[in-house]
Amino acid sequence: MTIPSVPPALYLVLSAILFTIGVVGALTRRNAIVVFMCIELMLNSVNLTFITLSRFLQSIEGVLFAFFVMAVAAAEAAVGLAIFVMIYRSRETINVDEINLLKW
């Protein structure tokens, strides 16, 4: 008897679980840097979906999309962390529930 190899659905379920953990973290944490890390986690889980479908549908577009997502994540990291440093300089905090100047 032969054992079937790992089905694509399991990879997709894993990526859905990681995405949900990222959403929950981004919603419940107060520290802006941890929220940022949760967003990176979500981007990463979407990359896993891209690679899985690229592998099982035998196309290379998923790999290229994952590459582009990584470039966007790098750009986001540079700008986002610069914004955090600037907010900390002016407000002495980066707790997301205390930064509410734009709230009416």
């Binding site: 032969t2 949900t20 929950v24 990359n47 990584m70 470039a71």
Partner: protein, 175 residues
């Protein structure tokens, strides 16, 4: 039995990496110290990189380790050290209900995703990149990137330059 050894190994690596990455991401969102969160983020990225290798995407696995686990997490750790944050206090009741409702909705979203996976199988026409062709992964990626997808590639480079300029301008001291 001998032909099953590769598959058994694949299952073992997949299950180990899946559980480790879920555990690492759960620890990431529950630790109070942001440095610990950053280190669990690295663990999660490395586990996902191994899964990429299992999916025969060597290029993305290497880029994952270099860009995500190397550059981005290094930036995050650097900023955490720069900001000298106190440990995060448990938030008061102010936002409690919105957090509970948001988490419940996120879990419902997970159930929706899993249901959609269980209800349908993988559709779509299979492309021409068979596993044999993908084994020369870097070459295939480079060919597609510099011929058919040259324009998005150039746009990504413009985006990166914009991000660098933006970061420099944002972190410049106002005179």
């Amino acid at each position: 039995m001998t032909e099953n050894i590769g598959t058994i190994l694949q299952w073992l690596v997949f299950l180990g990496m899946a559980f480790t990455s879920i555990l690492a991401s759960l620890l990431l969102i529950t630790r109070k110290n942001p440095i610990h969160s950053a280190l669990f983020l690295v663990l999660n990225f490395l586990c996902v990189a191994v899964l990429y290798l299992l999916l025969q995407s060597q290029f993305i696995a290497i880029i994952q380790v270099i860009v995500y686990a190397g550059a981005i997490v290094m930036l995050i750790v650097f900023v955490i050290m720069l900001l000298d944050l106190e440990e995060e206090l448990r938030s008061g009741l102010k936002l409690f209900y919105s957090k509970v409702i948001g988490s419940v909705l996120a879990v419902l979203f997970l159930f929706g995703l899993i249901y959609s996976l269980a209800a349908t199988s993988l559709k779509g026409k299979a492309g021409s990149y068979t596993p044999e062709k993908m084994s020369a992964n870097v070459k295939a990626v480079g060919e597609a990137l510099f011929t058919q997808y040259l324009f998005p590639f150039e746009i990504i480079s413009v985006l990166l330059v914009t991000a660098i300029i933006g970061a420099v301008i944002l972190s410049k001291k106002r005179s």
